[in-house]
């Protein structure tokens, strides 16, 4: 029986709204919810003990939403976060927006003041429904206790169906305190999306006549769990492929025909291939500006086949000769034509070899790209990397290996500093057997440093690699390159001693600052059973290379002098 069908069973006796909320979550198969209690949501917290739900008490509501986001990415099912009204609800907003921008299934539950008080500027009253309208897939204010089972079933259905996203449910306090018999409702069923047979035919014709095709894939692959179909297509055609930040791992990053991430901090071989291709097959990606650079110079000679679950993405930024909306796996499996492109494949392979990353940095300081490469190789396929935002985020994307997209959790659309540690919490609860590694920076980690307490409380064996350049490194890099070295408000030289901070939270920690310490540090990080933080001092002058300058074509890349 589907969760929704289970909801549809008539309930004879009245129950409090809070009990109906808990039962609705249980019916959806929810195991973990991330939250923080407070006044208006207290009736729901009162109903939690004795339920099948494990509540994870975070130390700030933003972390609840970000943990739920990561949980949703790993499981493919909506992550659930819960907070009280007013500041509790507003603290969720960044996490909700993060899920919206990256199309992550999430259900966010907020307490609200009692119905008669709504609109009276009551204590801890805020119009969270109105505030979040632009960043949710859908939202509800529950007006009737009897509607709770239906609304929750519908919310979960909306969050996970089609192009996933966050759904907000605002619960006035009286609605969850009153008792009612649940109103019956029909189960929610995802609509079938028929295959466009004409589109398949036209796409196969374009593939057959292509001499320089490129496969360009994004986060839609992970959302649709379409890795198998993507890999089959990639192997069948042998065509060069590139990934967006969120697409990494769609095909294993060590696949010979995979050229790497494209775009602003992408691999030159990937950007050059896009520039010269005659056919671009875009799967689950959206021509985002970080990927395309100056849009009118992106793949200027290519015809485009665009495949996406969301029809609104097709043609939004780039006209497609063939646009197909639907199940990505079904469509990819039907693209059976083979291009005659051997010279092109050899050309791309040569470019890949020519522009391969170099790790022979001078000096004895720790070179972060080399450290990350070694760490990801030793962590193996069981690892999940969660990232914060900044230079280290790009280094992870460039230098770590991924064999599945769920192994790389990164805030791509919103670029949320502070994502890494809460995401690590969510990932560990979603996949406890995984080796979860959070890569953070000294700027980012301070955004949610309090979540070290959550890690300690639940004994979560999160491995934190903190790359510390005592600066806001990415901002400094841009000020150096594009703002005439006018360094403004990037100095973090007064950072605390991060190892001491971690230890104060009860977490094992150590600091390294010399290249000779790297191997032992990685071994310690990976072999320690409990949570551990490795604080790494790196050269503050190091930049992320290559780089496409703003308003430039992707082939106008700046490179580190070689």
């Amino acid at each position: 029986m589907s969760p929704a069908a289970a909801h549809a069973a008539p309930a004879a006796e009245p129950k409090t709204g809070a009990r109906l909320v808990v039962e609705a979550l249980e019916c959806e198969g929810v195991r973990h919810i991330f939250g923080y209690p407070g006044g208006a949501i207290m009736p729901v917290y009162d109903a939690l003990p004795g339920s099948k739900l494990e509540h994870i008490l975070v130390r700030h509501e933003q972390a609840a939403a970000l943990s739920a986001d990561a949980y949703g990415r790993v499981t493919g099912q909506p992550g659930v976060c819960i907070a009280t009204s007013g500041p509790g609800a507003t603290n969720l907003i960044t996490g909700i927006a993060n899920a919206f921008l990256d199309s992550v299934p999430m259900v966010a539950i907020t307490g609200q003041v009692a119905s008669p008080l709504i609109g009276t500027d009551a204590f801890q009253e805020v119009d969270i429904f109105g505030i979040t309208l632009p960043i949710v897939k859908h939202s509800y204010i529950v007006r009737s206790t009897a509607d709770i089972p239906r609304i929750f079933a519908e919310a979960f259905h909306i969050a996970r169906s089609g192009r996933p996203g966050p759904v907000l449910i605002d619960l006035p306090k009286d609605v969850v305190m009153l008792a009612a018999a649940p109103a019956p409702f029909e189960p929610f069923v995802e609509e079938e999306c028929p295959i466009d047979e004409g589109g398949i035919e036209r796409a196969n014709a374009l593939i057959a006549e292509a001499r320089a095709p490129v496969l360009y894939f994004g986060g839609g692959i992970a959302i649709a769990r379409a890795e198998r179909a993507l890999r089959d297509f990639s192997e069948r055609t042998g065509m060069p492929s590139v990934a967006t930040l969120k697409g990494l791992g769609g095909v294993p990053t060590d696949t010979p025909s995979f050229l790497g991430m494209l775009g602003m901090h992408g691999m030159r071989a990937a950007n050059v291939a896009i520039d010269n291709c005659d056919l671009l097959i875009c799967v689950g990606a959206r021509f985002d500006d970080r990927a395309t650079g100056k849009l009118d110079t992106f793949a200027p000679r290519a015809k485009v086949i665009h495949i996406d679950r969301d029809p609104a993405e097709i043609g939004k930024l780039r006209r497609a000769e063939v646009g197909m909306c639907g199940d990505l796996s079904q469509i990819l499996d039907r693209l059976t034509a083979l291009p005659e492109a051997e010279p092109w494949k050899e050309q791309c392979a040569a470019q890949k070899a020519l522009w391969a990353m170099s790790y022979d940095a001078p000096g004895s300081g720790i070179y972060a790209p080399a450290l990350l490469k070694q760490l990801s190789e030793e962590a193996g396929d069981n690892a999940i990397f969660t990232c914060d935002v900044g230079q280290h985020q790009m280094w992870v994307a460039q230098h770590c290996r991924f064999t599945r997209p769920q192994a790389h959790l990164t805030s791509a659309g919103l670029g949320t500093m502070g994502y890494g540690v809460p995401a690590g919490v969510g990932a560990l609860l979603a996949e406890p057997e995984a080796t979860v590694i959070t890569v953070s920076g000294d700027g980012s980690i301070m955004m949610n440093i309090h979540e070290l307490a959550t890690i300690r409380r639940y004994r979560l064996p999160l491995k934190i690699l903190l790359l510390d350049n005592s600066q806001l490194g990415m901002v400094r890099q841009w000020q150096e390159l594009f703002f005439n070295e006018n360094f403004s408000e990037i100095d973090l030289a007064d950072n605390p001693d991060f190892a001491e901070v971690a230890r104060a939270f009860g977490i094992e920690a150590f600091t390294i600052d010399h290249r000779s310490q790297v191997s032992a540090a990685i071994e310690r990080l990976l072999k320690t059973d409990g949570p551990i933080l490795c604080h790494v001092r790196i050269d503050p002058r190091e930049n992320v290379w290559p780089l496409v300058p703003p308003n430039s074509s992707n082939v106008q890349m700046m490179e580190k002098s070689r």
């Binding site: 109105g130 309208l133 897939k137 007006r143 909306i158 939004k316």
Partner: protein, 80 residues
């Protein structure tokens, strides 16, 4: 250069604000609004003008179509 968007939708709390807000956030100025409702169904007609000529009315229609309450969207006008 203006266009007209006609949206058939299911009445629900916040539906109007959601639709009009989406139109504005996607780069269109709302220049006229007419709404009619009957039982649980309703219809909203918006006269809109793009802030940037590259914004497509057809794409806007697809974006409106993603909203849960929206049943059907039709567009007319000189915009493509």
């Amino acid at each position: 250069m203006s266009g007209r968007v006609v949206i058939d939708f299911a009445r629900a709390e916040g539906a109007l604000v959601r639709m009009i807000g989406l139109v504005e956030r996607r780069g269109f100025r709302v220049r006229g609004i007419v709404m009619a409702e009957e039982a649980e169904k309703a219809s909203l007609t918006l006269d809109v003008q793009p802030l940037d000529p590259r914004r497509s009315l057809d794409v806007l229609a697809l974006q409106l179509g993603r909203l849960h309450e929206v049943r059907q969207v039709s567009v007319s006008g000189t915009l493509s």
